[in-house]
Symmetry: D2
Subunit: 383 residues, 4 copies
């Protein structure tokens, strides 16, 4: 059976939409471990609009090609099967990976990072170079662990190419990876440098640069999950009548900075579940706290930015002034399960990558087509 | 066909558990309206332990009896069918209503309120008196709107009876009702008074008393859902790179006070959905922000309180030091749909009260038995 | 030597200005104790305008009269000398006490409380009744301790009289007293009741009613003055590089509610000084944290309110949109020293009540005339 | 008259104390402008102990020498007279400048910065090099404006020398300068670089590095000084009864990060005074909000750090676990006035540099000797 060849040409405006502007896309990625030292990754995709997301399956043996400007094209063939949430490139009919997990339990997440600025003096043009937008396909198809990705990036040059013809926008993303052993890595192009940074807390959101967030965590050393519910002051016994005061010190802002701190807190302090089923439900509880309804915050900069950047008529997606959680993913890195919940569904669907081992073709399913309605239980009463 | 008679004797410790202590039970109830002026109610149940919840269906015609101390027993027959989350009384094999919706779209929620103190000088003992713990069954079985409940409470005395034999604990709850026209009511026994209060914002959590919370809302007049993402200061242009700064002023605490303010904010500012399906998914997004994972806050007072109050061996439930969201309910007050999601499930199940119109028997199903696993979608790729 | 008779007629608009309100006047009063159990009181007066404050000395033997509506006039003669910050009544040429200390170390502070509502069914008109606005003169001239004031108020009716002819404004103040033994009392007319309440924490600001604030303190049981500057999370050692993180949980708002919590924190946690000199400097440090510069917060409601309430031309004071600290007082209740600092001075002046024992006349000095410039020290270098 | 020669040898432990550790010293420096475009600088010195501060006057013509390791010594002669708060070096009997203003209205402030790391590859050893600890004397004695300092630093190498013999501590300070035209500059040795950075907001505190704070300001775009005191939500009219809600979004922490944001807010939003006298009182109001009483925050790391770093018996100063505001300075950069208030005084003293023009000798006065008691005003009543 022939393995279809996936082309990766210049991105069309459809993908470009994911990064139109400083304020246009936000995401929260975090890593959770259970009581047995197994790892699970959660992630939200937050945008002020819908994109035509697909859930894509790529078997081992799939061919990929990445073209970065006028450099030699980098061709690669998948060693590992993977499942991903992808966004189609309307010109090339290629898809780009926004989120994914491979059959080794390595995960990849692309998150918005508006200040992207990669190295300008690249290797000579005889080298085959990977376009940053193809990092997802390359990472998931080639490697089994974070350590191996890190090693490979010492050899393989990556170029931050323009997402739009005018060259205005430089693939405004950074990338976070988790593996089944619990290692996390951030790949970030910032200040003209390619930074490949170990991420001991496993959390990533958006700007400012990753190191700024880690410094910021030092402003939260007073955090604890233990309620201090009694205080004697001047002979008066104060008592909080309710539980839950421990979170009083968390930032409430839904910006990247606020979400980073909360994601660390929730992923570290949530109960360590005893088994994978409990771990996934616990992770869903955690991620629910990053579920942003439309309307809760409105940023009027969105429309202007889109008008400035996109040619009219390129997209028919409705643009909201409010950023919201388009979809949430949960991943069991041990069992290679992917769970997805869209904004229009109250429930998660689940896909089991290992159960697809026999499938040797690339498969794409529209995300909206597999997002189900709630589980009907009326019959339990009407038997 | 005989309608089974539901007895309401003194509550056993199993129900008593729901209120053991000042800090033992928290809940968030809120009302959401869509763009068509239809109403939807959401609610969380937060406890440091599991109770043997049932989902119960009561058809019109069901008989109930409420016995309050040595007063005449109040007998009543259901005029309206209703669905409820109930907790069994182990002695009487009766169940008590924690949450419910009737066939008129009236909802009822029991929420913890430790400072409960009802009137002590009641009417003479020749009157039949309703025990406060039976308010749920009475309200849902008898009335169609909040206005009618309010009117009936002017005639019907309600007694706050002890939940435990020693008389130590006085049914430590208050009660919030919503109806299909969007009216909300709070019933609260506080400072020796029975307060029946209109609730224009439709939000209720726990202590302090309802009027304290409403006064507290005046400390949040600066809230808005519009991101103020730019500021010129001394010639410097500050710009928030991300969206979402509007929530910076919300309280982060998970106590009753913090949750009340956030529940007002989320229920008021979330996008008004265009149809019932959108309204329920929007409401689920809102309620997800009140989904408390085990471990996020720990209150060491829980164990002591339970040890103090309960006879050994009365319950076999494991007690956590962490309060968590045992279950979340969503209700479409127009369509009379009830959605439930337990801590052990990532997904909601749905029950349609109107589809049970032909069922004339009381039916109980264990909540844990109808809480399903995620929707399997692997087959979409393995066809 | 004749003691001049101080008349207390209906208040003119000049005093009325102090309460135009709801948002027009804020104050913070607190009590501090040193390591020897001696007590010191601090207080700010916050207004959006200047009033013609006087510093007034009243010797023992001074006669006062209070007239409340059509009730019998209450006449009283000072048993104790006192010092006070006063505001003149332009009609009667009487002055009203805003802040004061007597020769027994009892202090009195009038603070804005817009929701004032006193009892309407008063004693019969044959009784001599004290107008609430004259509480300062009565308390300071008659009593030595908080306990004696409390006892006397059980006998002496107090009437909340209108400050303005139309009867619109009901003396919108509440009152806080401290004595040399460290007892504090709040007198508040609220919901038609006269509440005389022990104040164990010694802090008072403005609305809502005092009991609301005390309940609110239960939301701050997590406060501590111990910096939690290290935290190990997921193997990462976070460390706050600076000291001072302990105050992260304090409210930052300058409203009455925020100031109440901070005043409790500062008065309780500030170092217990070893001697009176150290205590006064420590108290000045504390009060500096409640020193509000003009411009920091602006409330556009001020101008409208004044326009609504005052007859044109009654006052020539400039009205700001910003509330600011007009003056700050410090009192050594043991030594009977009063310190005052106005907005237009960087420094405090000090008045020693005991040193005035020989003065048998009432004396008034304009506050602005005794507020000095900084201490010139150039000569230390130019000798 | 001979001008005494000021020696600048290696610093003894007495100065070293000012920087013993990550958490040992905090400061807030800010710039305020009046309605006429005149500039004023305020600054606090926060430490957990007292140092033997002097107020020092250096006339033009004073000779200085700076010795950095084994480099050539840099000798310089004062072109400008200046006033400074200094700390003596007990070995050399030299003093080091912590804060100062010169006769051109240029100010200099040394602030703790624990992460100091200067360039390691310096110019060859034939150049005369300035030790960073002597920046104050060099800057104030040689230059009239920030622009000239900036220019000179392009030529003059500065070496971050060890403060202690073992070489463990590298002069852990950074430096902020303001001039009479309102320009501000930060000099910071960080990450092996000497950063000389324009400071458009004129605020500096402590770590992390200056650029981190400026990025952090983007998280405060929602700040305003306009009270939003009314909000209509779901038909309910909420109203804040008090003024002052605008500051609700400020950070409450007393760490460097919290103080930076508040210092920007206060210096930018405080009313622009109409004249220098009003400007200095307004600036004093601002700085009062950064006046930290002993006891408010306690950091137990202090004692250990001092024990680790200092030889026993080197200092007899009492070490507190609480950082507090040792002194506060105000400077009128136009009139060249310096105001100082110590922890043990409620009031400021003032020194007029221009009035010392005739003094041609270096003069030192102990800070504690010129810090006065409150202005006695009793006589106004006892005349």
């Amino acid at each position: 059976m022939p393995i279809p060849r996936i082309k990766a040409l210049a991105l069309s405006a459809a993908v470009a939409c994911t990064g139109f502007a400083p304020a246009a896309l936000a995401c929260t990625s975090l890593l959770y471990s259970d009581a047995n030292g197994k790892f699970y990754a959660g992630r939200t995709m937050e945008l002020p609009m819908e994109l035509p997301y697909k859930v894509s399956y790529f078997p081992a043996g799939t061919s990929f090609g990445s073209e970065a400007d006028k450099h030699h094209k980098l061709d690669f063939t998948a060693r590992h099967a993977f499942l991903a949430v992808t966004v189609p490139d309307r010109v090339s009919h290629d898809v780009k990976v926004a989120e994914g997990i491979n059959d080794q339990g390595l995960s990849f997440s692309l998150l918005a990072y508006a200040s992207t600025e990669g190295p300008t003096h690249m290797v000579d043009k005889t080298h085959a170079i990977l376009a940053a937008i193809d990092l997802g396909a390359w990472v998931l198809s080639q490697f089994s662990t974070v350590a191996k990705v890190k090693e490979a990036l010492q050899e393989q040059p990556v170029l931050v190419t323009p997402l739009l013809p005018a060259g205005l926008m430089k693939t405004p993303f950074h990338y976070t990876l988790h593996d089944a052993s619990g290692k996390s890595l951030v790949i970030e192009f910032s200040g003209g440098e390619q930074n490949v940074i170990d991420n001991p807390l496993g959390v990533m959101t958006n700007g400012p640069e990753f190191s700024w967030h880690m410094t910021n965590m030092n402003n939260y050393t007073h955090l604890t999950n233990i309620d201090q519910s009694k205080l004697e002051l001047g002979g008066v016994e104060l008592a909080q009548p309710d539980s839950g005061i421990a979170t009083a010190g968390l930032p409430a802002s839904n910006t990247s900075v606020g979400r980073f701190v909360r994601a660390v807190f929730y992923s570290q302090f949530a109960e360590k579940a005893k088994d994978p089923a409990g771990a996934i439900t616990t992770l869903s509880r955690i991620m629910n706290n990053f579920d942003r309804p439309r309307g809760i915050t409105k940023d009027n900069r969105f429309r202007d930015e889109i008008a400035n950047i996109m040619a009219p008529g390129v997209t028919h997606s409705r643009v909201y002034t409010s950023e919201y959680t388009s979809w949430t993913s949960l991943m069991d890195l041990q069992k290679k399960h992917l769970y997805l919940r869209t904004y229009d569904s109250v429930n998660f669907i689940q896909v089991d990558l290992q159960a697809l081992a026999h499938v040797s073709e690339v498969r794409h399913v529209e995300l909206k087509d597999i997002a189900h309605s709630p589980l009907e239980a009326t019959s339990a009463f009407a038997r």
